[in-house]
Structures are given as C-alpha cells and as structure tokens.
C-alpha cells in the first residue's frame, strides 16, 4: 500500500477503443497460434469499455472479418447495413439532394453502428482470449529508463484540489512493460508527451482536428429508416468553416445526428455545439427529429491532418495506433477501420519483436513498414493534401481537391502544409465577418425540445468527475490568458468547449475572469487544441471520471 506497487507485463495497451482492442485481440491470437504465453494488459480510463467512445458511426466492416475470422459478421453488434446514402446541400429552409457522392464518400456495404457497443463486444472477445482488461484507471505518466519507454504509471488518487495528499491517498501503480502501445484515441494526453519527448512529429505537418457534437434521438416510427443515412454540406457553416452534418437512421427508431466542424475556423466566438443546434433547427433536419426525444449527448475531436500529419509511429519499446496516430481517412472522416487495421499491424509487430526478444526502435520499425504496405497507406496517401487545401476555404479547397483527384492526390503544389488549429483563430479586432452570435441572432434561443443549451446536453452524457482532485485543465500562463485569451480573443474557450467547462464571468464592475467547471468535461480535448497561444493543457483526471456514454 505504499509507493512501490509495480506490476509487470509483456505488452501494455493504453486505451480500450477500437485500435487498442484490435491490438489486444490480434496479439492474443498470434501468441496462441505460436504457442506463447505472454501477458497483455489493457487499461481504459473510462468507467467501462465504451464509456468514452463516440463515433458517428458508419463503419467499414471488412477489417472486422480479418480481426475476428471465426466470428460471423452478424454477431458483431453493428446496427444496420446502410440502405440509402444521400448527400445533401443544406440551406436553412431548403435543401438539394446531390445526385452523386463526393469522391471517397460512398457507403455501400457499410454499417451504421454505435462504436461503444462494438467496443464492448470486442472487449468480451479480447477477455475470452486471455487479455486482462482493467477499466476506470487513468494513466498520467510514461515511465522511462535510460531515455527509453519502459511502461507507464496510473494516476495517484486521494489528492485534494490543491494537490495535497488526503488520508485516503492511494499511490498509482507502476506498470512495467516490454512494449507499450499508445491507443488513447484522439489527442492522447500521453501520446502528446511521447511525441514531444522523442520529437516524433519532426518534419511532419501539424496535426489538425475537427470537433464533432452528437446527439442520439428516439423518433416516431416513419421519420427515418434504419440504415438510411444523410451527410449534409453547407448550412450553417461558412466558406471558411470546414465540416458538415450527419444523420444516421438506426434500429428501434433511433437516429444519430451530429455536426463536425474543422477547428481551423477563424471566428473566436464560433461555437460548434450551438452551430449543431442551429443545424438541427433547419427544415430538413428538424423534420426527421420531429416528435422525437433526445436521449444522449456527447462530443469528441478527431484528427484530420491526414497522411502528412502522421507522426513517427514507434520508438524504443513503444508503438502508437489509431486516432492517437492520426489515422483517419478524409474526406469521409473514417477512422474506425484504420484504427482496427493499425492495431492488427501493431500486434503483428509486437508479437514478432517479443519473439525476437528485441523491442528496440529498430525492431519496431517493422510497424511502419507494415502500415506503409497496408490499406492505411493506400487510403490516406491519395487524399494526403485534401484537408490542407480546405484551410484556404471551401471553394479554394474544392478546386484544389479537384486537381488532387486528377493528379492522384498531389495537386499542383505538392505537399500542402497546415497550421495548428490554435493559430488560426483571429483576434476580435481582426475578424472581418459577423461574429457567431450576430450571424445567428434570434436562432440561439434553445427550446429544450428540438434544441438544447450546453448544460442540458451535458446532463445527457452521464458525465461525472470526483470533487477531490486537482482541476484537470491547466492554464499554463494565467496572466497571458487574461491579457490575450480574454481581452484580445474574447475568451473563445467559453464558446468552443463542447460541454460548458469554461465560463467567462463578468462581475458588476466589469472585471472578467475565466471559471473552470471541470466536472462537465467531455474529454473531447478541444481546449488542448484550440486555445489561442496553446495555453491550455488537458491532463487526465481520475480514472472512471468523464462521460458515461451508453450508445454513442
């Protein structure tokens, strides 16, 4: 019970999403086939597997056949096969159904699903194969020895607001592992440290992200059929705001709706959650939701920097997989199948390295080779310049994408660079267009039937955080925050946060201060990405804290 709790494992997988679970399953299979008995530990920070999983989701099923060759696809809890797939050019009151799909966006043969449910299923499979899964444990430290990763450590608990040890202090457990797999999902807090420590993004583009807000609804029968899906472009987004909406019909009269917006937008008062509400109020979307009831809310970011933003995926004793590695294919924003694929390749690499008894960087380089020879490379390389093109706006981006289609992804300019999302926000004084609130004046009164304020939505995420812990959102430089983020940018944190964590309080004397309601945090990491001056660090709170998604 004192500070020397140590456990040892052959492979430590940090994160119980699709990439981590695929790593675990594949690795257990290979070890079994080769008659070896290595220990695999998988640690998930959510209360349960699936608690922190959110995706649209329309999933490409093929890779699951490879991951679980003995399992009939119908056994996996996919919701419904896509039956009707339409792209909509949306206006506030009207819409045009496009007679074609944006290239790379066809969903024939794909399934709509709750990724959380799929992950719960994968976790059962993994445990059947001997993987040890522990949920509700946060890992906040990478362990190094001689400058090399040798595992990780769970967070100390029983610490008060000020960082003082309480009487129920429980030290974290050191997990020593021959190989550590970073499968934390988007903007992983440890992966970020790992990338910084080993400079793994040297010569790569800055990773850029989108924020997606999603609600799950139950609607009257007939509003939408299972497998009927729509993607919308246009309203309420401007030319400089990259993104779109999705409407996925599910079984049992459920429908998943969401709006995904690139975080490289300029307006410091832009609010993705509120834009999502405005989007729902459009005539096309509101008709589908009419008479229904919202049952769940959530939000997450996703990396969309594409091929050029993928960091080096390995170092001594460590591998990065899935969203943490930025493996998302544009423009369809599909990452689940790539996450699973990367997990399987990481598993192959880890198994080989263990058998060679060589987990060095050189040995793990095999992973990069496998990735580059896989469908991951194939899918991501052709659209390697897609997202950067749209940084110049939708019209320019569309033209550039056009040229990329002709030239197999290169375009006329070769590799396009990207800026980090926190750099693209404009100061209030620099903003040329109408700020968000004026743009949508009269549309920001939420009726709590069709549209919801953030507090109401957050309530539907099951979010919980222990009171006794240090606030897990660190403002690096408070003075700078007050002078720059609040005064010059108007505290964009209060707007971009998907879950009302940041409140700008103005007292009667006009004094402004930011108040952090960490207990609302959805773990979407937007603040870690978008805060001007890169002034906020998201660190992992106590294990088991955060949202408790059921069917997201």
């Amino acid at each position: 019970m004192n500070g020397n709790d140590t456990v040892s494992t052959d492979v430590l997988i940090i994160g119980g999403g699709p990439s981590g679970l695929a790593t675990a399953i594949r690795l257990a299979d290979i070890l079994k086939q080769t008659g070896r008995n290595n220990r695999i530990l998988l640690i998930e920070k959510g209360r349960e597997i699936g608690s922190h999983i959110l995706s649209g989701a329309v999933i490409k099923p093929l890779v699951f056949k490879e991951l679980l060759p003995d399992v009939n696809l119908s056994e996996i809890p996919f919701n419904s096969e896509v039956t009707k797939d339409t792209t909509i050019l949306l206006g506030e009151k009207g819409f045009i159904a496009l007679p074609f799909h944006v290239p790379y966006m066809s969903n024939k043969g794909n399934y709509v699903a709750s990724l959380g449910q799929v992950c719960r299923y994968l976790a059962i499979k993994a445990q059947e194969k001997g993987v040890e899964i522990y949920t509700g444990f946060a890992i906040d430290e990478i362990l190094y020895k001689d400058g090399k990763v040798i595992g990780a450590k769970t967070k100390d608990t029983g610490i008060d607001h000020h960082g003082q040890k309480l009487e129920n202090f429980q030290p974290g457990t050191r997990i020593e592992a021959r190989i550590t797999v970073f499968a934390e999902g988007t903007r992983g807090s440890l992966t970020k440290m790992l990338i910084a420590k080993f400079n793994l993004n040297k010569d790569r583009n800055e990773q850029v992200y989108s924020l997606g807000c999603k609600e799950l609804w139950v609607v009257p029968p007939g509003n939408i059929k299972p497998g009927e899906i729509y993607h919308t472009m246009g309203y309420p987004l401007d030319n400089d705001e990259f993104g779109g909406g999705f409407i996925y019909g599910l079984n049992d009269n459920k429908v998943a709706v969401g709006l995904v917006v690139g975080l490289d937008y300029q307006d410091p008062s832009f609010d993705v959650h509120d834009a999502f509400q405005i989007w729902k109020a459009s005539s096309f979307v509101s008709k589908i939701l009419k008479g229904g009831k919202m049952v769940e809310y959530g939000a997450k970011t996703l990396p969309e920097g594409g091929y050029y933003a993928i960091p080096k995926l390995y170092t001594d004793n460590a591998i990065i997989v899935g969203d943490s590695a930025g493996l998302v294919a544009m423009p369809a924003l599909k990452g689940v199948h790539l996450a699973v694929r990367s997990g399987m390749l990481a598993a192959q690499t880890a198994a080989d390295a263990l058998s060679r008894n060589d987990t060095s960087e050189k040995s793990l380089q095999q992973y990069e080779t496998l990735v580059n020879n896989s469908s991951i490379y194939k899918e991501m390389y052709v659209v390697r310049n897609f997202r950067q093109g749209f940084a110049k706006g939708l019209i320019a981006g569309g033209l550039l994408f056009g040229t990329q289609l002709i030239t197999g992804g290169a375009g006329f300019f070769g590799r396009l660079r990207s800026h980090a999302d926190y750099q693209t926000t404009l100061k209030l004084s620099e903003l040329k267009k109408k700020p968000f609130k004026e743009r949508f004046k009269g549309k920001l009164e939420f009726d709590k039937v069709l549209t919801f304020d953030k507090s109401t939505d957050v309530y539907h995420s099951g979010v919980y955080h222990d009171e006794d812990q240090v606030v897990h959102l660190h403002i690096k430089d408070m003075e700078k925050f007050n002078a720059v983020n609040i005064e010059e940018y108007g505290a964009p944190e209060q707007f971009f946060c998907s879950s009302e964590v940041y409140e700008l309080h103005v007292d009667k004397a006009g004094h402004k201060e930011i108040r952090i309601h960490a207990e609302n945090c959805m773990h979407c990491k937007t603040c870690d990405i978008k805060s001007p001056g890169d002034n906020i660090t998201w660190v992992v709170p106590n294990g088991g804290n955060g949202p408790d998604f059921q069917n997201m």
Partner: protein, 647 residues
C-alpha cells in the same frame, strides 16, 4: 495475535445512475450497482486502521446474490485481503432481523465469537441506501454478544487494545472507548473511500471468493428468508413529489439573476398538477376468522430519552402516535413510558401530561448516561415483565441503535424511521385467517421515493418514529397517571464501553424549528467562513424578519459552524416558510431535513447540483456574486415575501 478487521458490505443500485428511460420513467434496470456508500466508508475506516496495525488481516463479507462478488472484488482492489459471500436462495426476502442473524452466524462460523482469542473489529456502514434501516450492525453486535458503536464518523486504535470512535449524536458528537472485539458502523461523513488501485484490481481479478450457503454455516431455515423473518413488507406505494418543477432564474449577471428570482417569487413558482384520484375498488373481504397473535401482550411502551437534562423533543412527539394507537386498539390500552437515568422521577409528571398513562422509572447511578448495551438490557427486561404488544422509540441516533439490539433479544423485527403508525389488519390467504389487530408501520424507502408498509408478527412490534414527523402532544395540565419503579439486573459486561467525551450544542436548534426564513450555507460557502450567509440572515433580522442561519454537515465538520446549526443530521426536520440553500450540494440527509419547508430556494454554481431537484426556485451562480446582491436587496426592503414581525 494479529488483528482481523472485518468489513460488512452490501451492494446497492446507484441512485444517481438511474437514468430517465426513453418512456420518461426512471429506468432502474440500467442503474449500475455499487457498494453502498456508507459501507464504503466502513471499508475505508478499515484501511485507515491498517495504518495503525500493518499486520492486520483485512476481510470483507457480504450477503446476497452472486453478483455481489463485484463489490467484494472492488473492496479487494481497494486493499482488502480476503472476501466471503453468504449466498443462498433460501435467504431471499430476509428482513433485517434475519439478515443480522445470518451474517452473525457466518462470522461465528469463521471463528469470530465473543470469546475468540483472535482480536477482531467488525466495521459496517451505518445504513444502506435501499433499506435505510441501520439495523444490521446492532443486530450483529447483539447476536455475537459484543459492544457496538453506531453512527461513527472516525475510528482509531488507542494502542492499548481499545478502539476510539467518534459517534455522531443529535447536536453534537461523542467520543467512545470500546474494547476489542466490537462492532462499529460508519456514517458517510468521515474519510471518503479510496479509489481502487490497479495492483489491487489485478489481485481482485484473480481472487478466489469463498461462498457459503446456509448449510455450510449451520444456519437453519426457521428464522430466515421470507417465511422466517419476523416482519414482512405488505405494501409499497410511490411517494408522489409534493414539489412542482423548479423555476430557474435567468440573467447574465448577479443583478439580473436576483431580479429574476424576485419576479419568480412573486409569481409563486410552479404549481403541481393534482391528478384526479381514481376510486379504489372495494377489496373483497374474505370470510376468514380473526386471529389475535398477541398471546396476551398488551399496551404500548415508549422510551423517553434524556438529552442535556431534558426529555428530548422526539420522545415527546412519540407520545402522539402512541396515544393514537392506544385509542385505535381500544379496550383501555395503556401507554407506558419508560424513563432511565439518575434522579429522573421529576420528569414523570411531564410525561403523563403529554399523554403517558404510566411512567416506569429506572433510576441508577450507573445509568446516568445513555449507553446502548445497559439500556437495551434494561428495556428488554421491562418488556419481558410488562409484555407490551408495541414498543416505540424515537428514531434518534440512540433509538435507532437500541431498537434493533432489543429486537434481537426479543426475537422481534423492527421497522425503522416510520412516518406513519396505524392499527390495521392482515389477511393471510394461505392460513385463511385475518391477523387483527396489527401495527402497520409506514416508512419511506428507496431514497424517499416509496412508502412501504411493514408488519411484524412477533410482540412487541417494534418501530422507531422519525423525529419532526409527529407533533408534540398538547399538554393536559394536572393529568393523572401511574408512576412505578422497575429494578433491573445490571451486569458488568454491559458497562465495558466508556464515554470519553460528549459534545452537544445548545440553543440554535430550537431557533431553527421556529424561524420563518433559514439561510443555509453549504460546503460551497466556506471560503469566507460563512460571513456572507451570516450577514444575509442578520440583514433579514434587521428588517424584522424571523430569520436564522444554518449550515450543512460538511461545514460543521470543518468547524466553521456549531453542531446545533446543522441541518441534515439524523432525526431533525425543519419547516421554515422560506429555505435558502447556498452552496449546498443536496446530500440525501440534508434533503430529508429540509424538504418540508414551504418554499425552497437553491443557489449553487453547479447546475447539476442535486439540490435543484428539490427546490422551487434556483439560481446558478457563484455565492460570492449572488449573496452580496441579495444582501443589498434585503437592505432595500426585499424580504422573500415574508412579513416582518409586528412590534
């Protein structure tokens, strides 16, 4: 010999986890299970004791279905060493008596008896969230025959083989010194349970949990399960909320928020839509013979508790249902009140004037201060001699530990914390008889959401009555009654627990009962040591309003407010016209203490604070912004709609 620390835990559904189902109703099926909160404080108390006894063996025990293994594993992942589960279908439907019996039998089977050479301490939660009785720890202690301390907040060893326990009592606390072995039940106000550690979770995953059936521990079926339990639940009805949905203030700064509150207060808030009551169908009355199961037991016995040298208010309140039951029973049924202490005779006339027909006096130097073991022994002796059909106790911290301990001695079941006591009947379709007359004890349960009616079939039928529920009876001056004396047998073994210190506040408690407005500061308002809370109350007083300030439990714990100011302690219900909760999260005990206020205003920075579910009006904001604004408004004449005192 190394010490063994035994924690008793129960697994319960997590109330806050219950989500609204898609049909708009609470979906209990999706509620996750957790270790009962109080029990988890017991677990932590054990882990704290381990700091003093590094060699101690930590074992955790539970009784229930196999799914309870989850909670046992959680306990192991927190640091416990071994886990035992008593699991048998035949235990299904057991009441608290049967549960206490079964658990103590398991513990004896494991070698933990009052004569065991190996020292042990049994820790338990005060009560469970799905039962709320607080019986089992007392029953286990009685059955094993060892001392107990209930409602304990912190526990430590004194190094000389004793346990020092801080026990919460009305208006204060008590420090008790108990010999080992003993039973301690913990309130959820001490050191919060630690989080599991990963290394613990790995240990728990591989742990073999020892599971017993009743045959394994030599427990027969006569006194357990649905058929063997002395009490049964005959009816459970939903408690319909008396409070309409909250009206939240709107505005972007404190001035606007307070303006909005004032407007809302004037409008009067939401009104609860009363649904038409559906006429109940007449129950077909079977032609069964009546059965009088009392076997000659007659009369109602109550116990008059003394605090600070006075008869406690809840003990006087108790005489209201006692008199009512005596009238319903007819046949000249007597209300007998037992009073125990040193020089207590002067209280006899007061009790008679409040409705007692006979006051039984037990006077002894050794009984000057209340202690559960000698008092339960004395009361059991009186019961044996007088053979009452009903025994009532106020549901104070003393009454709630005494009643189950006595019930174990008389083989009676106990119904805890009742809000309704009536004489009724029970139609037994199996035996084709009608039990009549029988005590119907009604009590809120499942987090105050249901009202259960419970019957006991062994005399005396024992119940405890929630303080503040019944009115103190009207005094009939000069009323005549019998005063008699009882000489109990006192045994030294009942005096092994020492009261080291008793701390009880004065004064404020009564004021809280009579105030029109109560401003309560919660944990969220300790930043300025309640200065703002106090000045708001003071400002109202200046305006001639009968206002008082109070605080929630954690504030008292931090030493910022005195115990007498605490709302939400066991057994106290206040009913002001306006209750203003500031920075109060809304723990269930707090809600129970204030929910009968006429109008409730909640102010908290957390829009999800539990308190908003129980309030009529709400403001989301920092108290440091809102309260100064309110003070200014009060200075300008705002009185929350309460009239100033005339004088």
């Amino acid at each position: 010999m190394a010490l063994t620390i035994i924690s008793l835990i129960k697994q319960v559904p997590l109330p806050s986890e219950m989500r609204m189902g898609e049909d708009g109703l609470m979906d209990r099926t999706k509620a996750k299970s957790i270790i009962n909160i109080d029990c988890s404080f017991g677990l932590e108390a054990g882990l704290q004791l381990k700091k003093q006894y590094p060699d101690a063996r930590l074992i955790v025990c539970s009784m229930g279905p196999k799914s309870f293994e989850n909670s046992l594993r959680t306990a192991v992942s927190m640091g416990y060493d071994e886990a035992y589960l008593l699991s048998d279908r035949k235990l299904g439907g057991s009441d608290t008596y049967a549960t206490g019996l079964a658990i103590s039998t398991m513990l004896k089977h494991l070698g933990f008896t009052k004569d065991s050479k190996e020292p042990f301490i049994i820790l338990a939660g005060r009560q469970t969230s799905d039962g709320d009785t607080a019986h089992v720890p007392s029953q286990v202690a009685e059955k094993i025959g060892i001392p107990q301390a209930t409602f304990v907040e912190s526990v430590k060893a004194d190094g000389a083989g004793n346990v020092i326990a801080k026990r919460i009592i009305e208006g204060g606390y008590q420090i008790l010194k108990l010999p080992i072995p003993c039973v301690i039940s913990l309130t959820p106000t001490g050191i919060p349970p630690r989080k599991p550690s990963l290394s613990g979770a790995i240990k728990a995953r591989n742990l073999q949990i020892t599971t017993f059936g009743i045959d394994d521990i030599g427990l027969g079926t006569e006194k357990i399960g649905i058929n063997g339990s002395p009490t049964i639940v005959v009816k459970v009805v939903n408690i319909v909320s008396e409070r309409p949905p909250i009206v939240m203030s709107e505005g972007h700064n404190e001035a606007a928020l307070v303006d909005s509150l004032i407007v809302n207060l004037k409008k009067g808030g939401n009104v609860l839509e009363k649904k038409e009551k559906v006429d109940k169908k007449e129950i077909e009355y079977p032609d069964f013979p009546d059965k009088d199961f009392r076997n000659g037991a007659r009369g109602i016995l109550t116990w008059a508790e003394l605090t600070n040298g006075k008869i406690s208010r809840p003990s006087l309140e108790l005489l209201t249902p006692a008199r009512n039951l005596a009238n319903q029973l007819g046949n000249d049924t007597k209300v007998m009140t037992l009073i125990i202490g040193k020089n207590v005779k002067p209280f006899a006339q007061t009790l008679i004037e409040h409705g007692s027909d006979e006051v039984i006096i037990v006077e002894n130097e050794k009984l000057e201060e209340y202690l559960v073991m000698p008092f339960s022994s004395v009361i059991a002796q009186v019961i044996k001699e007088r053979n009452p059909e009903i025994a009532l106790f106020a549901a104070t911290t003393s009454g709630r530990e005494l009643a189950p301990r006595i019930g174990m001695k008389t083989d009676s079941g106990v119904t805890a914390d009742c809000t309704g006591l009536e004489i009724g009947e029970y139609i037994d379709k199996k035996e084709k008889v009608i039990y009549k007359p029988i005590l119907e004890s009604r009590r809120p349960t499942y987090g105050e959401s249901k009202l259960a009616t419970i019957l006991g079939f062994v005399c005396p039928q024992i119940s405890t009555a929630r303080a503040g529920t019944f009115e103190v009876p009207v005094v009939v001056e000069g009323r005549k009654g019998i005063v008699s004396y009882f000489n109990p047998v006192l045994e030294d073994k009942d005096f092994v627990v020492e009261i080291v210190k008793t701390e009880r506040g004065e004064g404020g408690l009564q004021n809280l009962f009579s105030a029109d407005i109560i401003i309560t500061g919660g944990r969220g308002t300790t930043g300025d040591n309640l200065a703002l809370i106090k000045s708001l109350a003071a400002e109202l007083k200046k305006q001639g309003v009968n206002a008082e300030w109070a605080s929630s439990r954690p504030v008292v714990d931090e030493g910022v407010a005195e115990y007498a100011r605490q709302v939400g302690q066991t057994g106290k219900t206040i009913r002001p016209k306006i209750y203003v909760a500031v920075g109060v999260s809304g723990a269930i005990q707090h809600i129970a203490g204030m929910k009968e206020s006429e109008k409730i205003i909640a102010i908290d920075h957390n829009p999800k604070a539990h308190i908003f579910n129980y309030a009529d009006f709400g403001i989301v904001g920092e108290y440091t912004d809102i309260v100064p604004e309110l003070i200014e408004r009060v200075k300008a004449g705002f009185k929350f709609g309460i009239e100033a005192k005339k004088n």
